[in-house]
């Protein structure tokens, strides 16, 4: 037992959790905490809007596997976190958000900068707390980190009234906690595992779909081993990108609304689908009634509520992706009787067809290929949301898990840049690139000031078509080219914008200039914005229109 203030207990508890970085902005209701942080070794990164704090914590967690931490003051500080917290919730990312709150005696009185952030974040957090007395702080922090990082990860918010931060109390820092209402299932049921192994061994055309759970549980090795063992091609969801190196002969790339030709064609033929750590979002399934009606679906997820939520499966397995894939591998000691030659021929054929679809030219797909050639294998790519994101997902190959950072479930424009800042803080040894659109980058670009002043050298590639590209694409395809409120007017000048923030600004109008600019950005190792003017008429294909099924895929030129 040690006597200290609530704020001191908070910082000590964070240090005990191994927290090295915090993203945030101080305010009236967090002054006591920031006073203690002044003397701490924890590095605080001062973002320019709290939304960026949450996204940076999110990017930090995705690339490092460690929980990201963000701070905001009460009221507007806290509510500005909401989009970022929702984003982490939708993509199951472990972040812990701390918010200041008005003093307990003022709660409920509509005090200055009071917002019911616990009420607001209940549906968008895995769990949240409002600390009622200073001595509860150490245990609450412990629980928050435990809940955020265990089972299916997710965001946790801890609301700290100002008087609690100031109060002194005898603090007890326990190492053990147990929550009677929370016991995640990690070990898969052995009978289910054996049935899965049998189904896969006897399948003619097995296929694996790997989701974010494979990344979260670090199960890539087990995934690759299984796919090679049973000769099953692997498609990934947006969240699963990087689970298998995309130059692997069995890797099909992304599946779904904007899936690769290979993934979207082969899934129509598969007879057994092993779906691991994924949740059958509408972007993956299309019309759920028409999603692979003839295939037997094995669904592996650590969250039992995902089983049969959107798609009824043939065989459910509740468990950790890594442990489950390992167990299936172990159970599959049979040698495959035939080598699935016909199936492998098809995989090869569709992959080749897809690979050859990218033609040389100053187009986003080709620029993604060029970027891939320049960047080292372990470079981290974050994306914004919209066309830029889908071009990156489709054409920029990821070779390693935790190197592709994208807002999947929430589809948050403005996510990529702050997420890239968080990623670079977590992995300063890596090159970090944000593939952006002009519309998305505009939503959070003021954090250029943060990246420059904190010396976090990320590279932002703005695929600048002067329109809200994905909305324009839908208006072009489904609304008779009636372009309503998508034109962005060709402003700002992103080179000047970068320079105004003390960053390097470059422009690339040819493939050669693009190559040169990226290399210059890498070599100079400063925050760099590369403005890449592209045609506003570009579409992302293939595409399955919303609510349609895999049979209805539109490909380029069709």
């Amino acid at each position: 037992m040690v006597n200290m203030s609530g704020a001191e207990a908070l910082v000590k508890a964070l240090e005990k959790e191994g927290v090295k970085h915090i993203f945030g902005i101080p305010g009236g209701a967090t002054l006591p905490i920031y006073d203690v942080l002044y003397d701490s070794d924890i590095r605080h990164i001062l973002v320019r809007h709290e939304q960026a704090a949450a996204h940076a914590a999110d990017g930090y967690a995705r690339v490092s596997g460690r929980p990201g931490v963000c701070f905001a003051t009460s009221g507007p500080g806290a509510t500005n976190l909401v989009t970022g917290i929702t984003n982490a919730y939708m993509d199951s990312v472990p972040i812990v958000a701390f918010t200041g709150q008005v003093p307990t005696s003022w709660i409920g009185k509509d005090a200055f900068q009071e917002a019911d952030i616990v009420g607001i974040t209940t549906p968008i957090t895995k769990h949240n707390f409002q600390v009622q007395k200073a001595s509860d702080i150490p245990r609450t922090v412990k629980m928050a980190f435990y809940i955020a990082t265990s089972g299916r990860p997710g965001p946790v918010l801890v609301d700290l009234p100002k008087d609690i931060q100031i109060d002194h109390a005898e603090m007890e820092f326990d190492d053990e906690i147990s929550l009677r209402g929370y016991k995640p299932t990690y070990e898969p049921h052995p009978i289910q595992v054996r049935r899965a192994a049998e189904l896969l061994a006897n399948a003619e055309k097995p296929m694996i779909i790997a989701g974010g759970g494979v990344i979260a549980s670090n199960a890539s090795e087990e995934l690759i081993r299984l796919s090679e063992k049973i000769l099953a091609p692997v498609a990934t969801t947006l969240m699963g990108k990087g689970a298998i190196p995309e130059d692997h002969p069995l890797a099909l790339g992304q599946l779904g609304m904007h899936g690769t030709l290979a993934a979207n064609k082969l899934i129509l033929e598969a007879d057994v689908l092993l779906c691991v750590g994924m949740r059958f979002s509408d972007r993956t399934t299309g019309d759920p009634k028409k999603f692979c009606p003839d295939a037997k679906i094995i669904h592996v997820d650590i969250d039992s509520s995902e089983i049969d939520k959107n798609i009824k499966c043939y065989l459910p397995i509740v468990g950790d992706a890594k442990l489950t894939l390992h167990a299936i591998n172990e159970a599959l000691n049979v040698v495959l009787k035939e080598k699935r030659t016909e199936w492998m021929r098809k995989v090869k054929e569709f992959k080749a067809q897809w690979e050859s679809s990218v033609k040389e030219g100053f187009t986003p797909p080709y620029l993604m290929k060029v970027l891939r050639e320049i960047l080292p294998k372990d470079a981290i790519v974050a994306t914004e949301v919209g066309q830029n994101q889908m071009w990156a997902a489709l054409y920029f190959k990821s070779y390693l898990p935790r190197t592709f950072v994208s807002s999947g479930g929430l589809g948050t424009m403005g996510f990529g840049f702050p997420a890239a800042i968080g990623a670079k803080v977590a992995r300063p040894d890596r090159i970090v690139v944000d593939i952006a659109g002009d519309g998305s980058f505009m939503m959070n670009y003021p954090n250029l000031a943060c990246a420059v002043s904190e010396n976090i050298p990320v590279i932002i590639i703005v695929l600048n078509n002067s329109v809200l590209g994905m909305v324009a694409q839908w208006q072009r395809l489904f609304y008779g080219r009636r372009y309503s409120q998508v034109h962005l007017g060709g402003v700002p000048d992103f080179v000047k914008l970068a320079e105004a923030h003390g960053a390097q600004g470059l422009r690339a109008e040819t493939v050669e200039e693009f190559r040169k600019a990226v290399k210059q950005a890498i070599e100079s190792d400063v925050v760099t914005v590369i403005d890449v003017p592209i045609s506003p008429e570009e579409n992302v294909f293939p595409m399955i229109p919303a609510g349609k099924s895999y049979e209805d895929m539109i490909v380029e030129g069709s």
């Binding site: 616990v118 009420g119 209940t122 549906p123 895995k126 929550l179 009677r180 209402g181 049969d308």
Partner: protein
């Protein structure tokens, strides 16, 4: 799939905010609550929620799983109606302008094994306990007299005999 009424018994942490997180989950997932009752359970710090939902089997399964997912929810069971005691209480203030009506009402109350708990010059308050069907039947019966006010508690329930929802 056919929708029917199910009774869920959940043990939860007895602390502020838990009812909110449960009802919030129902709203967010677009599940309907027919009734919900909460009170302290047999063990200290634990409350029992009895939630009645009208749902098909698939939605019921989701409701149970989503409830289980909440950190402050400790245990969730769907009660078997045939092996459970299910009770609800209603207080009804009935318009009784004259002694004829009053004696009719009192007769009904006796048949339903209820009690008259308040008498005023032109009204009675009646308390009836039973399963929801019995309460509905009573309300239908006295509706013609004129119901001035009505308050139902919502259903509470326990499994019979050896079968228990405990931690």
């Amino acid at each position: 799939m056919e929708r029917q009424t199910h009774i869920i018994s959940a043990l939860v942490e007895h602390k502020p905010g838990v009812l909110y997180s449960v009802s919030n989950m129902f709203r967010r997932r677009a599940f309907n609550i027919e009734s919900i009752t909460v009170g302290p359970a047999e063990q200290k710090d634990i409350a029992r929620m009895t939630i009645v939902v009208n749902a098909d089997e698939r939605i019921l399964e989701q409701v149970v799983k989503q409830l289980n997912k909440l950190i402050d929810v400790i245990k969730v069971s769907v009660l078997d109606p045939a092996a459970s005691v299910v009770r609800e209480m209603v207080l009804v203030k009935i318009h009784t302008p004259n002694s004829n009506v009053r004696s009719d009402v009192i007769n009904y109350v006796n048949v339903f094994r209820g009690r008259v708990v308040d008498i005023a010059p032109d009204s009675l308050i009646v308390e009836i306990t039973g399963d929801p069907d019995k309460i509905n039947a009573f309300i239908d019966l006295v509706r013609n007299f004129g119901i001035k006010e009505l308050a139902r508690t919502g259903v509470t329930a326990l499994s019979r005999g050896l079968k228990s929802v405990r931690i």
